[in-house]
């Protein structure tokens, strides 16, 4: 069965620090990969997605993620975080041919100190 693992449950950074959130998935076939974000008091929203092409994907607000197929990873990065990046981040995967069911990781809470 597909699964998604996010290594960090709670990350605390100071503003301007660099961010990398780990995400690994288990599935042998072709996958689509996503990062969703939930800011305090807001809905879950899509941050970025990968389904084919360039494995380095750029999303909103300066975020990027790199798909490394050999490592089954899709880590999220940002060179310099801001206080407004404080949120919960979810990695998700689905298989390219399935009905649309997204499998989510447990989420990582990011707290950025001003």
């Amino acid at each position: 069965a597909q699964s998604v693992s996010q290594h960090n449950h709670h990350v605390i950074l100071s503003e301007a620090a660099s961010l990398e959130l780990g995400c690994n998935y288990s599935y042998g076939g072709t996958v689509n990969l996503f990062w969703y974000v939930q800011y305090p008091g807001q809905h879950l929203q899509l941050l970025l997605k990968y389904f084919s092409g360039d494995p380095l994907v750029k999303g909103i607000k300066g975020f990027e993620a790199e798909f490394i197929k050999s490592k089954f990873s899709f880590n999220l990065r940002k060179p310099s975080v801001q206080w407004s990046d404080t949120a919960e981040y979810f990695c998700a995967v689905n298989s390219a041919g399935n009905t649309g069911k997204l499998i989510f990781g447990q989420g990582t809470t990011l707290q950025v100190k001003p």
Partner: protein, 118 residues
């Protein structure tokens, strides 16, 4: 409406009672999903609708859970004989994905229903 709407936003019920949770997807979105988020857990898939049919209901935890969708729009998730372990945030999402489309479309989430079973 402009976004996915869920009601009620909060529901407190007694163990053993039935509850109904409602989801109004974005107008024109054919795909609708229900997820559950328990405290400290990730999002757990429950069921997926394409139009009024549910090609994937593999995530429903037990036969106490059921869902329907009518008119290709509103969906209702029903939990019968609620148990304390049913306490969670129930999230609905919709997307514009067509039946033959690729499974990569962006999901739009509602704000969820916080269910508390006492």
């Amino acid at each position: 409406g402009a976004g996915v709407s869920q009601s009620p936003s909060n529901k407190v019920t007694e163990k053993g009672k039935d509850v109904e949770l409602r989801c109004d997807p974005i107008s024109g979105h054919t795909a609708l999903y229900w997820y559950r988020q328990s405290l400290g857990q990730g999002l757990e898939f429950l069921i997926y609708f394409q139009g009024n049919s549910a090609p994937d209901k593999s995530g429903l935890p037990s036969d106490r859970f059921s869902a329907e969708r009518t008119g290709g729009s509103v969906s209702t998730l029903t939990i019968q004989r609620t148990q304390q372990e049913d306490s969670a945030v129930y999230l609905c999402a919709s997307s514009a994905r067509s039946g033959g489309g690729r499974a990569n479309e962006k999901l739009f989430f509602g704000s969820g229903t916080q269910l508390s079973v006492l």
